[in-house]
Amino acid sequence: MQHGGQGGGVRGPGMGNCGNFHGGFSSGIRGRGKAEGKEWMPVTKLGRLVKDMKIKSLEEIYLFSLPIKESEIIDFCLGASLKNEVFKIMPVQKQTCTSQCTRFKAFVAIRDYNGHIGLGVKCSKEVATAICRAIILAKLSIVPVCRGYWGNKIGKPHIVPCKVTGHCNSVLVHLILMPRGTGIVSAPVPKKPLMMAGIDDCYTSARGCTATLGNFAKASFDAISKIYRYLTPDHWKETRTQAPAVATT
């Protein structure tokens, strides 16, 4: 036991000696890292605060409009309730002088069942890599979704609280509120994000080149993310909040 303990420590200074840091260093010394479970090492200050549990929920981050730059922050806050879904995978081609270069474009939507959704789009030579990177992008673009009522405030909120419009390039998507029981009346493409956001009843109206799946999906996401920008009467009440610097030190 003692020997083992010393062995671990001797490796320390011994390492710097075997050749120099720059050139002659053999890579066999430290083979670990692949078998172990990877612990998240935060890179940004926000990441460090989240890891130390000084910021406990995503809502605190949204309150101050802090940009989320690490996808692990989302993992940490929302964790197990996140669910990914591949929307669509399509090959896209680029013409080079010799041949055509085909890459795969993956659309991944991510949601938790509590009012957060995200959409990630990524192109890559291999499908699995595209999906993997699109998941990370989806996590970085997670937005909260606010739902409201059409008429009486009975039961759970089920629709967008007001009419919203989202656009992406030429595509315009209007979301119009409807009474309970209408269901989602829309093309298949925006239907998915609306269902994932927990919106049960909605009319949609779209304009522009909706054949372009990417733009159509992004426009509907844009519409959903605009909901919180609208100041509805239930937000009129004044609240006092502390600046994040004060709150976390």
Binding site: G9, M15, F21, G24, G33, P67, I68, V86, C123
Partner: protein
Amino acid sequence: MAAVLKPVLLGLRDAPVHGSPSGPGAWNASKLGGIPDALPTVAAPRPVCQRCGQPLALVVQVYCPLEGSAFHRLLHVFACACPGCSTGGSRSWKVFRSQCLQVPEREAQDAQTQENSLAAEDWCEGADDWGSDTEEAPSPQLTLDFGNDASSAKDVDWTARLQDLRLQDAVLGAAHPTALSPGLPLFLPYYICVADEDEYMDFVNLDHAHSLLRDYQQREGIAMDQLLSQSLSNDGDEKYEKTVIKSGNQTFYKFMKRIAGCQEQILRYSWSGEPLFLTCPTSEVTELPACSQCGGRRIFEFQLMPALVSMLKSANLGLSVEFGTILVYTCEKSYPMEEFCIIQEDPDELLFK
């Protein structure tokens, strides 16, 4: 794309330093935190902060002799750990380099390490067969001597120290064996071990992606090869899209992608290589000040990574250092002196002021 990428070595945190090792074993080691070890002929640097005048704490000590050079080379990075200065920019950081000749040490040690040097020669025999320069053959042998010698010397030291360890644990700061000036800020010391970046490059876990792909195929009822043929039928309305990150910038995203293979790296070493920028580099990088002693060019040597920030803990609370990444540039000709470092701040820093 055209330039050949220089190999990058990653530094990772290893075992904690026990007691206070001295002798060649101490200054031959790369470590983070602790007290700076000095080369035999050089005094240990004890700098003070330019902003507040407090003594600086050692962040990292890197032992990095150059290839083909007969000098031991030690680089110390110091930072001010006061709360007011932790985001102070380059004025709270100092980098020192010291070096001394290797040769005289070797003669003294040779007599003691007969068996060890035999083992060392066996190890290096293969190296000779590969047609390496005769210059290089002595240096690995030389430094191995130190390694083995240090370990044998250490064996004796540690059996004694291990007994003390339990008693000292509770009074870590106070009962320190070597005489420390009481006001010196100190981070808990750990050794740094080295690995090649290539080992970690391709490690991306694609299992989840594959399972999602299978679900998609089941749902849509198409197989992989059909996906490809689809492209020939539709006339590409969809085009290749460049990723646009909503929050943060492209440079940061590339930085994250590059370190994703090994997130716990705390140091990237690449002598005269390219640094990995955290945020878009400002003009500071293109207009590096020349070496003040010889007027020579300064080149990139290594950079400290953000993972180090969470690893720098101190025995008494209140010491912390914050940064995005620190790029250390050293003089090409390698004279012993103070070096230049560029600090790229954490991109979230401005939000929390």
